[in-house]
Amino acid sequence: MPRTSKSGKRTPYQIDVIERGLGVLRLFTPSRHVLSLRDIAQGLHCVPSTALRLVRTLCDLGFLQEMQGRTLYRPGIAAIGLGKSSIVNARLHRAALPHLRALHESSHHSINLDVLLDGSICHVERFKEKDILPTAVRIGSLFPAYCTAPGKLLMAFQSSQERARTLRTQSFAPLTARTITSRTAMLRELRAVRKAGFAIADCEMAEDLRAVSAPVCDRHGEVVAAVTLVGSSRTIPVRMLRGPYADGVREAAEYISADLRRIASSGGAP
Protein backbone atom coordinates (compact mmCIF):
# COMPACT_ATOMS: atom_id res chain seq x y z
CA MET A 1 0.00 0.00 0.00
CA PRO A 2 1.42 3.35 -0.96
CA ARG A 3 2.34 5.37 2.10
CA THR A 4 3.31 8.85 2.94
CA SER A 5 6.91 9.69 2.38
CA LYS A 6 9.28 9.04 5.21
CA SER A 7 12.59 9.29 3.40
CA GLY A 8 11.48 12.46 1.69
CA LYS A 9 14.88 14.10 1.98
CA ARG A 10 15.79 13.84 -1.66
CA THR A 11 12.72 15.10 -3.47
CA PRO A 12 9.99 15.91 -0.98
CA TYR A 13 8.11 18.07 -3.46
CA GLN A 14 8.05 15.40 -6.14
CA ILE A 15 6.92 12.64 -3.85
CA ASP A 16 4.24 14.77 -2.34
CA VAL A 17 2.81 16.03 -5.60
CA ILE A 18 2.93 12.64 -7.33
CA GLU A 19 1.34 10.96 -4.33
CA ARG A 20 -1.39 13.57 -4.16
CA GLY A 21 -1.99 13.45 -7.90
CA LEU A 22 -2.31 9.70 -7.95
CA GLY A 23 -4.38 10.00 -4.78
CA VAL A 24 -7.03 11.71 -6.89
CA LEU A 25 -7.40 8.49 -8.90
CA ARG A 26 -7.56 6.42 -5.73
CA LEU A 27 -10.69 8.29 -4.65
CA PHE A 28 -12.75 6.59 -7.34
CA THR A 29 -14.59 3.40 -6.33
CA PRO A 30 -17.15 1.23 -8.12
CA SER A 31 -19.94 2.99 -6.25
CA ARG A 32 -18.43 6.43 -6.78
CA HIS A 33 -16.99 6.28 -10.27
CA VAL A 34 -17.83 9.90 -11.11
CA LEU A 35 -16.61 12.66 -8.79
CA SER A 36 -16.95 16.43 -8.71
CA LEU A 37 -14.05 18.77 -8.09
CA ARG A 38 -15.48 19.40 -4.64
CA ASP A 39 -15.54 15.64 -3.88
CA ILE A 40 -11.91 15.42 -4.96
CA ALA A 41 -10.83 18.42 -2.86
CA GLN A 42 -12.64 16.97 0.16
CA GLY A 43 -11.16 13.52 -0.40
CA LEU A 44 -7.63 14.94 -0.53
CA HIS A 45 -8.23 17.42 2.31
CA CYS A 46 -7.06 20.30 0.18
CA VAL A 47 -8.48 23.51 -1.24
CA PRO A 48 -10.28 23.39 -4.60
CA SER A 49 -7.55 25.37 -6.33
CA THR A 50 -4.94 22.74 -5.44
CA ALA A 51 -7.30 19.97 -6.48
CA LEU A 52 -7.95 21.74 -9.76
CA ARG A 53 -4.26 21.91 -10.62
CA LEU A 54 -3.87 18.19 -10.00
CA VAL A 55 -7.01 17.42 -11.93
CA ARG A 56 -5.98 19.55 -14.91
CA THR A 57 -2.65 17.72 -15.12
CA LEU A 58 -4.36 14.32 -14.86
CA CYS A 59 -6.81 15.34 -17.59
CA ASP A 60 -4.04 16.58 -19.89
CA LEU A 61 -2.42 13.15 -19.80
CA GLY A 62 -5.65 11.19 -20.18
CA PHE A 63 -5.75 9.77 -16.64
CA LEU A 64 -8.93 11.66 -15.89
CA GLN A 65 -11.77 12.54 -18.18
CA GLU A 66 -13.82 15.65 -17.62
CA MET A 67 -17.48 15.92 -18.37
CA GLN A 68 -20.20 18.51 -18.09
CA GLY A 69 -18.23 21.70 -18.22
CA ARG A 70 -15.45 20.54 -15.89
CA THR A 71 -17.47 19.94 -12.79
CA LEU A 72 -17.46 16.13 -12.97
CA TYR A 73 -14.62 13.72 -13.56
CA ARG A 74 -14.04 10.02 -14.02
CA PRO A 75 -10.96 7.85 -14.61
CA GLY A 76 -9.69 8.28 -18.17
CA ILE A 77 -8.55 5.82 -20.77
CA ALA A 78 -4.89 6.06 -19.70
CA ALA A 79 -5.80 5.00 -16.15
CA ILE A 80 -7.75 2.02 -17.41
CA GLY A 81 -4.98 1.03 -19.81
CA LEU A 82 -2.48 1.31 -16.96
CA GLY A 83 -4.47 -1.06 -14.76
CA LYS A 84 -4.80 -3.54 -17.59
CA SER A 85 -1.07 -3.44 -18.35
CA SER A 86 -0.14 -3.84 -14.70
CA ILE A 87 -2.02 -7.14 -14.72
CA VAL A 88 -0.84 -8.50 -18.04
CA ASN A 89 2.81 -7.43 -17.65
CA ALA A 90 3.30 -8.96 -14.23
CA ARG A 91 5.69 -11.89 -13.99
CA LEU A 92 3.28 -13.55 -11.63
CA HIS A 93 0.57 -13.44 -14.28
CA ARG A 94 2.79 -14.96 -16.94
CA ALA A 95 4.06 -17.68 -14.63
CA ALA A 96 0.57 -18.53 -13.38
CA LEU A 97 -1.44 -18.80 -16.60
CA PRO A 98 -0.54 -22.36 -17.72
CA HIS A 99 -0.98 -23.77 -14.24
CA LEU A 100 -4.31 -22.04 -13.65
CA ARG A 101 -5.54 -23.31 -16.98
CA ALA A 102 -4.39 -26.85 -16.17
CA LEU A 103 -6.16 -26.77 -12.82
CA HIS A 104 -9.28 -25.42 -14.46
CA GLU A 105 -9.28 -28.16 -17.07
CA SER A 106 -8.68 -30.93 -14.59
CA SER A 107 -11.16 -29.75 -11.96
CA HIS A 108 -13.94 -28.20 -14.09
CA HIS A 109 -14.37 -25.47 -11.51
CA SER A 110 -13.68 -21.74 -11.62
CA ILE A 111 -10.08 -20.89 -10.81
CA ASN A 112 -8.97 -17.43 -9.67
CA LEU A 113 -5.65 -15.80 -9.01
CA ASP A 114 -6.00 -13.10 -6.37
CA VAL A 115 -3.81 -10.51 -4.71
CA LEU A 116 -4.45 -8.32 -1.70
CA LEU A 117 -4.76 -4.59 -2.48
CA ASP A 118 -5.41 -2.14 0.34
CA GLY A 119 -7.42 -4.65 2.33
CA SER A 120 -9.43 -5.96 -0.62
CA ILE A 121 -9.07 -9.06 -2.70
CA CYS A 122 -8.47 -8.31 -6.37
CA HIS A 123 -8.97 -10.92 -9.10
CA VAL A 124 -5.96 -10.68 -11.41
CA GLU A 125 -6.83 -13.77 -13.40
CA ARG A 126 -9.88 -15.89 -13.74
CA PHE A 127 -10.76 -19.11 -15.51
CA LYS A 128 -14.48 -19.26 -15.39
CA GLU A 129 -16.70 -22.28 -15.33
CA LYS A 130 -20.06 -21.32 -16.81
CA ASP A 131 -23.19 -20.68 -14.74
CA ILE A 132 -21.57 -20.86 -11.31
CA LEU A 133 -21.40 -17.19 -10.53
CA PRO A 134 -24.45 -15.39 -11.83
CA THR A 135 -22.92 -11.97 -11.31
CA ALA A 136 -20.46 -10.54 -13.79
CA VAL A 137 -17.13 -10.88 -12.05
CA ARG A 138 -14.37 -9.23 -14.02
CA ILE A 139 -10.64 -9.24 -13.77
CA GLY A 140 -9.64 -6.32 -11.61
CA SER A 141 -12.79 -6.30 -9.52
CA LEU A 142 -12.50 -6.10 -5.74
CA PHE A 143 -13.96 -8.18 -2.91
CA PRO A 144 -13.71 -7.92 0.85
CA ALA A 145 -10.96 -10.06 2.39
CA TYR A 146 -12.60 -11.28 5.61
CA CYS A 147 -15.25 -13.46 3.98
CA THR A 148 -13.27 -15.02 1.12
CA ALA A 149 -10.80 -17.91 1.02
CA PRO A 150 -8.03 -15.93 -0.75
CA GLY A 151 -8.59 -13.02 1.65
CA LYS A 152 -8.15 -15.20 4.71
CA LEU A 153 -5.18 -16.96 3.17
CA LEU A 154 -3.33 -13.77 2.24
CA MET A 155 -4.06 -12.17 5.61
CA ALA A 156 -2.79 -15.29 7.37
CA PHE A 157 0.57 -14.97 5.67
CA GLN A 158 0.97 -11.22 6.18
CA SER A 159 3.38 -9.88 8.79
CA SER A 160 1.58 -9.18 12.05
CA GLN A 161 1.92 -5.44 11.46
CA GLU A 162 0.42 -5.59 7.98
CA ARG A 163 -2.26 -7.98 9.16
CA ALA A 164 -3.33 -5.54 11.85
CA ARG A 165 -3.59 -2.83 9.20
CA THR A 166 -5.64 -5.05 6.87
CA LEU A 167 -7.97 -6.15 9.67
CA ARG A 168 -8.71 -2.52 10.50
CA THR A 169 -10.10 -2.04 6.98
CA GLN A 170 -12.52 -4.98 7.18
CA SER A 171 -16.18 -4.33 7.86
CA PHE A 172 -16.92 -7.83 9.24
CA ALA A 173 -20.50 -7.46 8.02
CA PRO A 174 -22.43 -10.75 8.38
CA LEU A 175 -23.11 -11.65 4.74
CA THR A 176 -24.33 -15.16 5.59
CA ALA A 177 -24.90 -17.10 8.79
CA ARG A 178 -21.37 -18.48 8.49
CA THR A 179 -19.42 -15.25 7.97
CA ILE A 180 -16.71 -14.62 10.55
CA THR A 181 -17.75 -11.33 12.12
CA SER A 182 -15.24 -10.59 14.87
CA ARG A 183 -11.58 -9.75 14.90
CA THR A 184 -10.84 -12.33 17.61
CA ALA A 185 -12.53 -15.15 15.74
CA MET A 186 -10.70 -14.07 12.58
CA LEU A 187 -7.31 -14.17 14.30
CA ARG A 188 -8.07 -17.70 15.49
CA GLU A 189 -9.11 -18.68 11.96
CA LEU A 190 -5.95 -17.17 10.47
CA ARG A 191 -3.76 -19.16 12.86
CA ALA A 192 -5.49 -22.33 11.68
CA VAL A 193 -5.01 -21.29 8.04
CA ARG A 194 -1.29 -20.73 8.59
CA LYS A 195 -0.98 -24.15 10.14
CA ALA A 196 -2.94 -25.95 7.41
CA GLY A 197 -1.24 -24.10 4.55
CA PHE A 198 -4.54 -23.47 2.77
CA ALA A 199 -7.77 -21.56 3.45
CA ILE A 200 -11.37 -22.57 3.02
CA ALA A 201 -14.44 -20.38 2.77
CA ASP A 202 -17.60 -22.35 3.35
CA CYS A 203 -20.56 -20.19 2.29
CA GLU A 204 -19.12 -17.15 4.06
CA MET A 205 -19.65 -14.55 1.34
CA ALA A 206 -22.69 -16.02 -0.42
CA GLU A 207 -24.99 -18.83 0.64
CA ASP A 208 -24.00 -21.20 -2.12
CA LEU A 209 -20.29 -20.58 -2.71
CA ARG A 210 -17.44 -22.66 -1.43
CA ALA A 211 -13.78 -22.00 -2.14
CA VAL A 212 -10.30 -23.19 -1.27
CA SER A 213 -7.09 -21.13 -1.65
CA ALA A 214 -3.37 -21.92 -1.55
CA PRO A 215 -0.41 -19.52 -1.41
CA VAL A 216 1.94 -18.52 -4.25
CA CYS A 217 5.39 -17.40 -3.10
CA ASP A 218 7.81 -15.13 -4.91
CA ARG A 219 11.54 -15.81 -5.18
CA HIS A 220 12.11 -14.45 -1.68
CA GLY A 221 9.62 -16.93 -0.27
CA GLU A 222 7.06 -14.20 0.44
CA VAL A 223 3.39 -14.98 -0.19
CA VAL A 224 2.26 -12.70 -3.03
CA ALA A 225 -0.93 -14.24 -4.37
CA ALA A 226 -3.52 -16.95 -3.87
CA VAL A 227 -4.75 -19.65 -6.24
CA THR A 228 -8.41 -20.29 -5.55
CA LEU A 229 -10.90 -22.89 -6.67
CA VAL A 230 -14.51 -21.68 -6.39
CA GLY A 231 -17.66 -23.66 -6.88
CA SER A 232 -21.25 -24.08 -5.90
CA SER A 233 -21.90 -25.73 -2.55
CA ARG A 234 -24.32 -28.02 -4.38
CA THR A 235 -21.52 -29.61 -6.37
CA ILE A 236 -18.63 -29.39 -3.90
CA PRO A 237 -18.94 -31.18 -0.57
CA VAL A 238 -16.67 -29.84 2.18
CA ARG A 239 -14.76 -33.12 2.29
CA MET A 240 -13.77 -32.70 -1.38
CA LEU A 241 -12.73 -29.12 -0.66
CA ARG A 242 -10.40 -30.20 2.16
CA GLY A 243 -9.17 -33.27 0.27
CA PRO A 244 -8.47 -33.40 -3.45
CA TYR A 245 -9.35 -29.79 -4.25
CA ALA A 246 -7.06 -28.44 -1.54
CA ASP A 247 -4.31 -30.70 -2.89
CA GLY A 248 -5.02 -29.46 -6.42
CA VAL A 249 -4.75 -25.75 -5.60
CA ARG A 250 -1.65 -26.32 -3.45
CA GLU A 251 -0.01 -28.21 -6.24
CA ALA A 252 -0.81 -25.49 -8.80
CA ALA A 253 0.39 -22.81 -6.38
CA GLU A 254 3.66 -24.69 -5.86
CA TYR A 255 4.20 -25.00 -9.61
CA ILE A 256 3.67 -21.25 -9.99
CA SER A 257 6.04 -20.47 -7.11
CA ALA A 258 8.66 -22.75 -8.66
CA ASP A 259 8.28 -21.00 -12.02
CA LEU A 260 8.63 -17.60 -10.34
CA ARG A 261 11.90 -18.78 -8.79
CA ARG A 262 13.05 -20.16 -12.12
CA ILE A 263 12.25 -16.90 -13.95
CA ALA A 264 14.14 -14.98 -11.27
CA SER A 265 17.21 -17.19 -11.43
CA SER A 266 17.35 -17.11 -15.22
CA GLY A 267 17.39 -13.35 -14.86
CA GLY A 268 14.47 -12.18 -16.93
CA ALA A 269 11.34 -13.09 -18.83
CA PRO A 270 10.82 -16.75 -19.68
Partner: protein, 294 residues
Protein backbone atom coordinates in the same frame (compact mmCIF):
# COMPACT_ATOMS: atom_id res chain seq x y z
CA UNK B 1 -19.51 26.19 -4.82
CA UNK B 2 -18.61 29.85 -5.20
CA UNK B 3 -14.93 29.10 -4.85
CA UNK B 4 -15.13 26.38 -7.46
CA UNK B 5 -17.14 28.61 -9.77
CA UNK B 6 -14.63 31.40 -9.36
CA UNK B 7 -11.70 29.16 -10.17
CA UNK B 8 -13.45 27.79 -13.17
CA UNK B 9 -14.55 31.09 -14.59
CA UNK B 10 -11.08 32.50 -14.00
CA UNK B 11 -9.57 29.70 -15.96
CA UNK B 12 -10.58 30.10 -19.55
CA UNK B 13 -9.29 27.91 -22.33
CA UNK B 14 -5.82 28.21 -20.87
CA UNK B 15 -4.66 25.02 -22.54
CA UNK B 16 -2.29 22.74 -20.75
CA UNK B 17 0.35 25.07 -19.39
CA UNK B 18 -1.27 27.19 -16.74
CA UNK B 19 -2.31 24.49 -14.32
CA UNK B 20 0.20 21.88 -15.34
CA UNK B 21 2.28 20.32 -12.57
CA UNK B 22 5.52 19.09 -14.07
CA UNK B 23 6.47 16.56 -11.41
CA UNK B 24 3.06 14.90 -11.52
CA UNK B 25 3.00 14.97 -15.31
CA UNK B 26 6.34 13.17 -15.41
CA UNK B 27 5.13 10.49 -13.02
CA UNK B 28 2.06 9.94 -15.16
CA UNK B 29 4.15 9.89 -18.34
CA UNK B 30 6.37 7.19 -16.93
CA UNK B 31 3.37 5.08 -15.90
CA UNK B 32 1.92 5.48 -19.39
CA UNK B 33 5.24 4.57 -21.00
CA UNK B 34 5.44 1.36 -18.99
CA UNK B 35 1.80 0.58 -19.69
CA UNK B 36 2.42 0.84 -23.42
CA UNK B 37 5.02 -1.94 -23.47
CA UNK B 38 5.06 -5.51 -22.32
CA UNK B 39 8.20 -5.39 -20.22
CA UNK B 40 9.99 -3.20 -17.69
CA UNK B 41 12.41 -0.37 -18.48
CA UNK B 42 15.81 0.56 -17.12
CA UNK B 43 16.60 4.12 -16.09
CA UNK B 44 18.56 4.74 -19.27
CA UNK B 45 15.71 3.38 -21.42
CA UNK B 46 13.31 5.69 -19.59
CA UNK B 47 15.62 8.66 -20.12
CA UNK B 48 16.04 7.81 -23.80
CA UNK B 49 12.33 7.48 -24.48
CA UNK B 50 11.21 10.50 -22.45
CA UNK B 51 14.04 12.88 -23.25
CA UNK B 52 14.66 13.50 -19.53
CA UNK B 53 18.12 13.45 -18.00
CA UNK B 54 19.21 10.24 -16.27
CA UNK B 55 18.89 12.00 -12.91
CA UNK B 56 15.29 13.03 -13.59
CA UNK B 57 14.38 9.58 -14.89
CA UNK B 58 15.85 8.03 -11.75
CA UNK B 59 13.99 10.43 -9.47
CA UNK B 60 10.63 9.88 -11.11
CA UNK B 61 11.07 6.09 -11.15
CA UNK B 62 12.24 5.88 -7.55
CA UNK B 63 9.40 8.12 -6.40
CA UNK B 64 6.86 5.79 -8.00
CA UNK B 65 8.73 2.84 -6.49
CA UNK B 66 8.59 4.42 -3.09
CA UNK B 67 4.84 4.90 -3.44
CA UNK B 68 4.42 1.23 -4.43
CA UNK B 69 3.30 1.67 -8.04
CA UNK B 70 6.58 0.43 -9.51
CA UNK B 71 8.93 -2.34 -8.57
CA UNK B 72 12.67 -2.27 -9.17
CA UNK B 73 14.24 -5.54 -10.26
CA UNK B 74 17.80 -5.21 -9.02
CA UNK B 75 19.08 -8.03 -11.20
CA UNK B 76 18.00 -6.59 -14.56
CA UNK B 77 17.70 -2.97 -13.43
CA UNK B 78 14.16 -2.86 -14.81
CA UNK B 79 11.33 -0.83 -13.34
CA UNK B 80 8.01 -2.65 -13.64
CA UNK B 81 4.37 -1.84 -12.88
CA UNK B 82 2.83 -3.38 -9.76
CA UNK B 83 -0.76 -4.38 -9.08
CA UNK B 84 -1.21 -1.21 -7.03
CA UNK B 85 -1.78 0.55 -10.35
CA UNK B 86 -5.17 -1.18 -10.35
CA UNK B 87 -6.34 1.15 -7.62
CA UNK B 88 -5.63 4.16 -9.86
CA UNK B 89 -9.06 4.12 -11.46
CA UNK B 90 -9.12 0.66 -13.01
CA UNK B 91 -10.90 -1.29 -10.29
CA UNK B 92 -13.40 1.54 -9.90
CA UNK B 93 -14.56 1.25 -13.50
CA UNK B 94 -13.96 -2.35 -14.48
CA UNK B 95 -17.22 -3.80 -13.25
CA UNK B 96 -19.40 -1.10 -14.78
CA UNK B 97 -21.85 -2.03 -17.50
CA UNK B 98 -22.05 -0.45 -20.94
CA UNK B 99 -24.77 1.92 -19.79
CA UNK B 100 -22.70 3.21 -16.89
CA UNK B 101 -19.59 3.52 -19.01
CA UNK B 102 -21.44 5.38 -21.72
CA UNK B 103 -23.57 7.62 -19.55
CA UNK B 104 -21.14 10.48 -18.89
CA UNK B 105 -20.36 10.87 -22.58
CA UNK B 106 -24.05 10.74 -23.48
CA UNK B 107 -24.76 13.36 -20.86
CA UNK B 108 -22.04 15.52 -22.33
CA UNK B 109 -23.49 15.14 -25.82
CA UNK B 110 -26.92 16.05 -24.48
CA UNK B 111 -25.56 19.11 -22.66
CA UNK B 112 -23.64 20.32 -25.67
CA UNK B 113 -26.33 19.83 -28.28
CA UNK B 114 -29.47 20.30 -26.16
CA UNK B 115 -31.05 17.51 -28.20
CA UNK B 116 -32.59 14.17 -27.22
CA UNK B 117 -29.87 11.53 -26.97
CA UNK B 118 -30.34 7.76 -27.03
CA UNK B 119 -28.19 4.72 -26.41
CA UNK B 120 -29.81 1.72 -28.06
CA UNK B 121 -29.27 -1.97 -28.60
CA UNK B 122 -30.83 -4.28 -31.18
CA UNK B 123 -33.51 -6.81 -30.19
CA UNK B 124 -34.57 -8.73 -33.29
CA UNK B 125 -35.97 -6.19 -35.73
CA UNK B 126 -36.56 -3.65 -32.95
CA UNK B 127 -34.37 -1.40 -30.90
CA UNK B 128 -34.49 -0.87 -27.15
CA UNK B 129 -33.02 2.27 -25.64
CA UNK B 130 -31.09 1.76 -22.42
CA UNK B 131 -30.38 5.46 -21.96
CA UNK B 132 -32.59 8.36 -23.01
CA UNK B 133 -31.75 11.96 -22.29
CA UNK B 134 -34.70 13.98 -23.50
CA UNK B 135 -35.14 17.50 -24.65
CA UNK B 136 -38.72 18.59 -24.00
CA UNK B 137 -39.96 16.09 -26.60
CA UNK B 138 -41.72 12.79 -25.97
CA UNK B 139 -40.46 9.52 -27.35
CA UNK B 140 -42.28 6.79 -25.45
CA UNK B 141 -40.97 5.19 -22.26
CA UNK B 142 -37.50 3.85 -21.52
CA UNK B 143 -37.37 0.24 -22.65
CA UNK B 144 -40.09 0.71 -25.29
CA UNK B 145 -39.37 -1.05 -28.53
CA UNK B 146 -39.11 0.87 -31.76
CA UNK B 147 -38.89 -0.58 -35.26
CA UNK B 148 -35.22 -0.67 -36.22
CA UNK B 149 -35.66 0.17 -39.90
CA UNK B 150 -37.37 3.49 -39.14
CA UNK B 151 -34.89 4.78 -36.56
CA UNK B 152 -31.29 5.93 -37.14
CA UNK B 153 -29.87 3.82 -34.31
CA UNK B 154 -31.71 0.77 -35.59
CA UNK B 155 -30.35 1.25 -39.10
CA UNK B 156 -26.84 1.61 -37.71
CA UNK B 157 -27.15 -1.56 -35.65
CA UNK B 158 -28.54 -3.66 -38.51
CA UNK B 159 -25.90 -2.25 -40.84
CA UNK B 160 -23.19 -3.77 -38.64
CA UNK B 161 -24.79 -7.18 -38.21
CA UNK B 162 -22.78 -10.07 -39.69
CA UNK B 163 -23.83 -10.47 -43.35
CA UNK B 164 -25.78 -13.67 -42.82
CA UNK B 165 -27.73 -12.34 -39.82
CA UNK B 166 -28.52 -9.15 -41.67
CA UNK B 167 -29.82 -11.07 -44.69
CA UNK B 168 -31.95 -13.33 -42.50
CA UNK B 169 -33.43 -10.32 -40.76
CA UNK B 170 -34.00 -8.47 -44.04
CA UNK B 171 -35.85 -11.28 -45.74
CA UNK B 172 -37.55 -12.73 -42.67
CA UNK B 173 -39.20 -9.57 -41.33
CA UNK B 174 -42.40 -7.87 -42.42
CA UNK B 175 -41.22 -4.25 -42.46
CA UNK B 176 -44.05 -1.95 -41.43
CA UNK B 177 -44.73 1.42 -42.94
CA UNK B 178 -45.37 4.38 -40.62
CA UNK B 179 -45.13 7.39 -42.91
CA UNK B 180 -44.95 7.74 -46.69
CA UNK B 181 -41.17 7.93 -46.31
CA UNK B 182 -40.63 4.68 -44.34
CA UNK B 183 -38.43 2.32 -46.32
CA UNK B 184 -40.00 -1.14 -46.43
CA UNK B 185 -38.57 -2.71 -49.58
CA UNK B 186 -35.81 -5.20 -48.53
CA UNK B 187 -33.62 -4.33 -51.54
CA UNK B 188 -33.84 -0.64 -50.75
CA UNK B 189 -33.25 -1.28 -47.05
CA UNK B 190 -30.18 -3.33 -47.92
CA UNK B 191 -28.82 -0.35 -49.84
CA UNK B 192 -29.66 1.96 -46.95
CA UNK B 193 -27.79 -0.20 -44.45
CA UNK B 194 -24.78 -0.48 -46.75
CA UNK B 195 -24.71 3.30 -47.09
CA UNK B 196 -24.84 3.75 -43.31
CA UNK B 197 -22.07 1.21 -42.74
CA UNK B 198 -19.75 2.88 -45.23
CA UNK B 199 -20.51 6.40 -44.02
CA UNK B 200 -20.12 5.55 -40.32
CA UNK B 201 -23.45 7.16 -39.51
CA UNK B 202 -27.14 6.60 -40.27
CA UNK B 203 -29.92 9.14 -40.72
CA UNK B 204 -33.70 9.06 -40.80
CA UNK B 205 -35.98 11.65 -42.27
CA UNK B 206 -39.69 11.49 -41.38
CA UNK B 207 -39.51 7.70 -41.42
CA UNK B 208 -41.19 6.91 -38.11
CA UNK B 209 -43.01 10.15 -37.33
CA UNK B 210 -43.41 13.04 -39.76
CA UNK B 211 -41.17 15.94 -38.80
CA UNK B 212 -38.70 13.80 -36.83
CA UNK B 213 -35.11 13.49 -37.98
CA UNK B 214 -32.27 11.62 -36.43
CA UNK B 215 -28.65 10.61 -36.79
CA UNK B 216 -26.76 7.70 -35.19
CA UNK B 217 -23.22 6.32 -34.92
CA UNK B 218 -22.01 2.84 -33.91
CA UNK B 219 -20.27 1.77 -30.68
CA UNK B 220 -17.82 -1.12 -31.02
CA UNK B 221 -16.39 -3.32 -28.30
CA UNK B 222 -12.81 -4.65 -28.19
CA UNK B 223 -13.79 -7.40 -30.58
CA UNK B 224 -14.86 -4.96 -33.30
CA UNK B 225 -18.48 -5.93 -32.76
CA UNK B 226 -21.10 -3.22 -32.93
CA UNK B 227 -22.80 -3.55 -29.54
CA UNK B 228 -24.87 -0.38 -29.38
CA UNK B 229 -25.58 2.88 -31.18
CA UNK B 230 -25.73 6.51 -30.05
CA UNK B 231 -28.41 8.65 -31.65
CA UNK B 232 -29.66 12.21 -31.62
CA UNK B 233 -33.29 12.57 -32.58
CA UNK B 234 -34.96 15.94 -33.16
CA UNK B 235 -38.70 16.30 -33.43
CA UNK B 236 -40.89 19.08 -34.67
CA UNK B 237 -39.44 20.01 -38.04
CA UNK B 238 -36.86 22.28 -36.45
CA UNK B 239 -34.04 21.08 -38.63
CA UNK B 240 -33.70 19.65 -42.11
CA UNK B 241 -31.80 16.41 -42.65
CA UNK B 242 -28.88 18.34 -44.10
CA UNK B 243 -28.75 20.53 -40.99
CA UNK B 244 -28.94 17.49 -38.72
CA UNK B 245 -25.98 15.93 -40.50
CA UNK B 246 -24.01 19.15 -40.54
CA UNK B 247 -24.52 19.93 -36.87
CA UNK B 248 -24.63 16.55 -35.21
CA UNK B 249 -22.70 14.05 -37.30
CA UNK B 250 -19.38 15.06 -35.73
CA UNK B 251 -20.55 15.12 -32.10
CA UNK B 252 -22.43 11.82 -32.40
CA UNK B 253 -19.47 10.09 -34.02
CA UNK B 254 -17.01 11.48 -31.49
CA UNK B 255 -19.23 10.35 -28.61
CA UNK B 256 -19.53 6.86 -30.10
CA UNK B 257 -15.78 6.67 -30.65
CA UNK B 258 -15.04 7.72 -27.06
CA UNK B 259 -17.37 5.10 -25.64
CA UNK B 260 -15.82 2.50 -27.97
CA UNK B 261 -12.35 3.51 -26.78
CA UNK B 262 -13.41 3.04 -23.15
CA UNK B 263 -14.76 -0.43 -23.97
CA UNK B 264 -11.57 -1.28 -25.86
CA UNK B 265 -9.36 -0.09 -23.03
CA UNK B 266 -10.88 -2.65 -20.68
CA UNK B 267 -10.41 -5.68 -22.93
CA UNK B 268 -8.84 -7.86 -24.07
CA UNK B 269 -7.13 -8.50 -20.82
CA UNK B 270 -6.12 -12.07 -20.92
CA UNK B 271 -5.65 -15.46 -22.43
CA UNK B 272 -9.20 -16.27 -23.50
CA UNK B 273 -9.19 -13.34 -25.87
CA UNK B 274 -6.56 -14.49 -28.27
CA UNK B 275 -3.20 -14.04 -26.57
CA UNK B 276 -1.28 -17.29 -26.90
CA UNK B 277 -0.08 -18.54 -23.52
CA UNK B 278 3.45 -17.15 -23.12
CA UNK B 279 4.95 -20.42 -21.95
CA UNK B 280 3.62 -22.52 -24.78
CA UNK B 281 0.43 -24.59 -24.70
CA UNK B 282 -0.41 -25.69 -21.21
CA UNK B 283 -0.72 -29.35 -20.34
CA UNK B 284 -2.28 -30.54 -17.15
CA UNK B 285 0.38 -31.99 -14.92
CA UNK B 286 -0.42 -35.71 -14.76
CA UNK B 287 -1.08 -35.83 -11.04
CA UNK B 288 -3.90 -33.30 -11.36
CA UNK B 289 -5.95 -35.57 -13.53
CA UNK B 290 -7.17 -37.52 -10.56
CA UNK B 291 -9.44 -34.59 -9.75
CA UNK B 292 -11.54 -35.54 -12.73
CA UNK B 293 -12.90 -38.61 -11.02
CA UNK B 294 -15.66 -36.78 -9.25
Amino acid sequence: MTVIAKIQSGETAAGTSRYHITALARGLQLLAMLAARRSGMTVSAIAAESGWTITTAFRVASTLCHLGYLEHDKRSGDYELTYHCLSLGYSATVSLELTEIAFPDLQKLHDETHESVFLSILAGADIISTVRLLRSERFGALGDRFPAHATPNGKMLIAHLPARDQERLLTGTRWMSFTPKTIVDPAQLRKEFEKARLAGFAVTDDELVVGTRGIAAPIFDWDGQCVAAVAIVCAGKRLTVAQVIERYCGPVQITAERISALLRARYPISHDIGDPPPNGPAKAPPRLRRLRKK
